[in-house]
Symmetry: none
Subunit: 185 residues, 4 copies
DNA sequence: CATGAATGAGCATTCATTCAT
DNA sequence: TATGAATGAATGCTCATTCAT
């Protein structure tokens, strides 16, 4: 019985998942056929179904990995968190495109929506807690401002998904200036 | 002779388009079958094709209407624009969900992407011009800050699409406070 | 009650039938939609169904008219018949194309096949009778040669349907020479 | 691993193509639905599309095979060609019916028309060349008489398509006698 | 008499999934 | 383990026909 190593299994799974992610980022979940994934991954149709129970399972795996990208804003000193937040504003275009597809899927699939919302809520709560320890400009509600910071991140992801040439550097600098103006009144 | 009135024709088109928009907002463009639209609109399959050449044409019509929702930030005094911008932060959940589906579609369809980008770029340019006439906090680049305002709008749309209960009021007030902090240094 | 004249009715019917024949000759019966006929005839969809019970009825009407084009070889002196036969070898391309479509339809529709076969058999029998009164070259069976003359006619119709530029004149002259060689041994 | 043999693949293709040809011969190309072909071939709907890109491709394959039935009159001594020509006058009824359907399709599809015309022109040219080396009865133009021989063939195909009981033997004998009368003046 | 909006069954085709090898 | 041929339900769309006006 050709029992192969766990590394081999994991590598195969990665190979399929990466190919699928590339397809999904480009064409969306529903315009990507399993044949597309099969072709892109270089394995056979049958094999895909030994690693994933079906298309939905594959989507779930990709969404789960995407979901784990949060936690950026949940640990460290406020300054560290700000630095990491600003860093992450500049992501790759493919990641951005995949995110947008997942956002759309979150609209119709409650389980994905749950994950997507936690990707907003967990960092937001953590950020709001941090903001409450700081002096804030007049009228700034910590919780709402935390939500605004998430929105700024999401908006940039969206704009990056549509325009690879977008100059994130100036954008990041100005976000920093906004943070400065609001938290150092 | 059943050469019916133009109003009737327009109303029929609306009826189909509204039903389609509701389907698309809920399930996305590709998970919505024409049968779904047919069922939701209450007309027959054949009739849909008298008003639209096909599914793509229907999507195009919906995207075009969505695209015309911009121009909010392009006319009036700065104060009027700010008021209108803040007003529009609080949209309906269905509109938000449809927007997210269109964003996702914009990733794969260049024509839709073009419209989506213009929905960002036209207001952004107009806003940046207005910002240049105002005193700004240190480090705030007019163009980047205009983009941030769009991002804030987009982020709220996204969060509204996932969570109907989201309290937009506090959010809007805090956005106003951010504007205050940045433009009245 | 707007009771119109019989001439009007007949003219309307002709108008529709001619438009239909043109469509059928170009695209065949099954690639021509009723919408095509409606468009080509310039009347409304509903009106077509006041003159014909349906598409099949319209086809039947056209096939019946086509069927009445036989009888060429059934009356007159042998010489007159030969002259008329040779004359009819050179038909218009549109008529030829319509004939080919009818032939194909005759393969699947027994009623049309019956008419098509009578278009072969009636002239054939009449011709064979005439041939039996003439001296024939060695080995020429009157009935088979009559069939051959029909075949020659059909073959030219077919070749005309595919090639409008076909030179029928030389062809007709050589058919006459064949007749000469066979009937004047 | 079900990388099945090439023979298996070819056999499957044949199975589908034969079933399709039978359907097309009986009902014509446009009255035959893919479901009909699927039913007749005994395979699933999906499988048909692994062997043919669509209905048009299947028609093209059948027409191409049909087209290769020419060349009968292009090689060998004149006597051999005559023998083969007379042999082929007696074809099967199904082949005849398929030919008629292809002829009709040739009227509307320029690519099929091209093949159909070459099925006339290639043998005709070869035959005319052969005829030019022979003594001919008065008034017989080699090229026109070659065309007449094609017409005789086509006419018999057509009459066979409508009438399976047609006695081809007498017909063939009389065609031979005509050839005799014309080429041995 | 005449219109053309409306119908819905039927069509060609795709695609997630299975299973014999 | 790995393959890819095979399945069949579902999709977007067309079209002959009807009927309210």
């Amino acid at each position: 019985m050709p029992k192969v190593s766990d590394e081999h299994l994991a590598a195969r799974r990665r190979q399929i998942l990466d190919a699928a992610a590339a397809c999904f980022a480009r064409d969306g979940f529903h315009r990507t056929s399993m044949q597309d994934v099969v072709r892109a991954s270089g394995v056979s149709a049958g094999l895909v179904y030994r690693y994933f129970t079906g298309k939905d399972d594959m989507i779930a795996a990709i969404v789960t990995e995407w979901h784990d990208q949060r936690r950026i804003l949940e640990t460290g000193t406020p300054d560290e968190r700000v630095a990491r937040y600003l860093d992450h504003l500049a992501g790759t275009a493919e990641t951005a495109r995949l995110s947008v597809q997942i956002w759309a899927e979150a609209v119709r699939d409650p389980r994905i929506r749950e994950l997507a919302r936690r990707n907003v809520d967990d960092p937001r709560t953590a950020t709001a807690d941090a903001l409450r320890t700081m002096p804030l400009a007049a009228g700034i509600e910590p919780d709402a401002f935390a939500r605004i910071l998430i929105a700024i991140y999401q908006g940039l992801v969206l704009q990056t998904a549509w325009d690879e040439t977008l100059d994130t550097e100036t954008y990041v600098r100005t976000v920093a200036a906004v943070l400065e103006a609001v938290t150092r009144p």
